[in-house]
Amino acid sequence: MPDTAPNPHELEISVFGPGFGECILVHVGDGDWVIVDSCIDRKSGQPIALDYLRSIGVNVASQVKLVVATHWHDDHIRGIAQVLHATPGARFVDSDAYPFKELVEMVEIGATSPSHSSATKEYHQILSILKKRQERGQRAETVGPVRAIANRRLLALTNAERALQAEVFSLSPADSSIALARAELSYALDAIKDRSRPPKQGANEFSIVLWLKVGALDVMLGADLEHVSGTTEGWRAILRSAERPSGHARFFKVPHHRSENADCPESWTELLSQQPIAVVTAHSPSRRPRPSDISRLCARTQHVLLTSDPYRYALPRRDKAVERTMNETALSRRVLSGQMGHVRVRCDARTVGENPMIELRNGAKRTCASQ
């Protein structure tokens, strides 16, 4: 039986994760979609966002309204330029922590390196796509880049004729992180010019946490935002903000694969409803989430869903001579990703009390003992 698109009044949150990489799709009502981050499905070689949306009959060219790169880490941005290319009706959003001029300088210099990183390659292509769109006459406001910062409204679909009203806000990065981001960018630019050392990847605290109001429901997507000691950065900055949208989110994409440095206990009481549905993506290189991470999470909510198990990926098959040499040379080996796990939650968003329908595909699973 073919998969179908959600009804106009349904909220859908689809979280994909193969073990290294994540992508989140949100149906914000009336056939409109928001794409957050990107990863590649190794079976098709295509971004999972495009594969999935096309498989349920979505016209990605017109129905995707927003493409968000929460931050420029390899596990969040692979294929995002291809996604943007296929979605000419979408605005592109990235973090305002980095000053745009310096960011473009770093990307353009980095793109001349023979082994530039995935992030540089993707952003270089995105800049080219945005430029072409503006040159073809699309207004800058409809193309982007829209620079996300704390408490900025990124999208408003509030026409009275809609089945669902929808708004998307960014809750981070905090204003106070801009100075740090500028220093980091300066270091990276020097490193790329010099080519004597590789640039470091940007800090997680510059990532974009999203708050989506869809009909009567709220959703919070935590990106990789960390819980730092200061009160003006990270999760505490969101908690202290008087300007953030009101409400308690019923659906939560857990930040940074549930590592301790992203765990902010107050966020569960201040920002989330009781027993929210929490989705965790695996990060195989750091072996996250660990059993202790899951235990901590299950103490907060019984509805914890994991996209894939970071410990169980099969080695690929290769020529026997290659395998022999590899085993002689490498002291240890492990595969960092597997099949594309998929957690899908659908719910009538016209009222708060509806029970959501949860589907777990390709190795995605519930993790709390009582679930």
């Binding site: 193969p18 073990g19 290294f20 190794r42 079976k43 070689g45 745009f100 001029k101 960011l103 473009v104 300088e105 990307v107 353009e108 210099i109 001349t112 390196s113 023979p114 082994s115 800049l127 945005l130 430029k131 503006q134 800058a140 406001e141 982007g144 880049p145 829209v146 620079r147 010019k193 010099d194 080519r195 004597s196 050392r197 590789p198 640039p199 470091k200 290189p285 990926y313 080695l315 690929p316 290769r318 020529d319 001579a321 290659v322 022999r324 040499t325 590899m326 040379t329 490498a330 002291l331 240890s332 080996r333 492990r334 595969v335 960092l336 990703s337 597997g338």
Partner: protein
């Protein structure tokens, strides 16, 4: 190079190896021509037929047919009797085309790796399969001894490297299974290039930036 001796001799296989490794002390002339010439300046001529075996490694001697040359500034091998060494003027050698090489390499697998962290004797790296890109990335732990001494200065966390596994067939028909790991070398940009790219980037940023 007046007074240079011309040696129109075919070279042994290992001189080709040496040339490709860039170890020769001479200077290749007319690199665009099919025939290439190498000047060995003020070299010493040795009788290779009698004395090559037992020399302190052939790396200090370039052989042409039955004659060997020790490039300028290289010490004489201790095993060479003085009477077999002739001080030579500059020598002009004709190098054969590299097509004459009978070495054959069959690459079975290549990865592009990134050094993640370095420990005392080993390092961890993430490998991306360049032969079959649909394969998932793998994390491996390798011995630091696998890194060539000439690459050590480039060996830092974040460095890109290439790992190739394959077969190498020698001119004599012997097959060896080989594993080669090289750290990537990235050419530095000139100040002019940096300025040009920055100007283009600033223009692009100004075009795209929303007020």
């Amino acid at each position: 190079m007046l007074g240079a001796t011309i040696e129109p001799l075919s070279m042994k296989a290992h001189i080709l190896m040496r040339r490709s490794e860039g170890h020769h002390e001479g200077r290749v002339l007319f690199p665009g021509l099919k025939e290439q010439f190498l000047i060995l300046q003020e070299s010493c001529q040795v009788n290779v037929a009698r004395h090559l075996i037992g020399l302190d490694g052939v790396s200090s001697v370039i052989t042409v047919g039955e004659v060997g040359y020790i490039p300028q500034n290289q010490p004489l091998p201790a095993s060479l009797p003085d009477q077999s060494v002739t001080k030579n003027p500059d020598v002009l050698l004709r190098l054969p085309s590299l097509k004459e090489s009978k070495w054959k390499v069959t690459v079975l697998q290549q990865w592009v790796g990134r050094v993640e962290r370095i420990e005392r004797l080993t390092f961890y790296a993430v490998l991306n399969d360049a032969t079959n890109p649909q394969n998932p990335p793998e994390e491996v732990e390798l011995e630091i001894a696998e890194i060539s001494p000439s690459d050590r200065s480039l060996f830092i966390p974040g460095a890109t490297f290439y790992w190739s596994i394959g077969y190498q067939d020698t001119p004599g028909g012997q097959r060896q299974r080989v594993s080669v790991l090289r750290i990537a070398r990235h050419p530095r940009l000139s100040d002019t290039d940096v300025d040009r790219i920055l100007k283009q980037a600033d223009s692009l940023a100004a075009f795209l930036e929303i007020a």
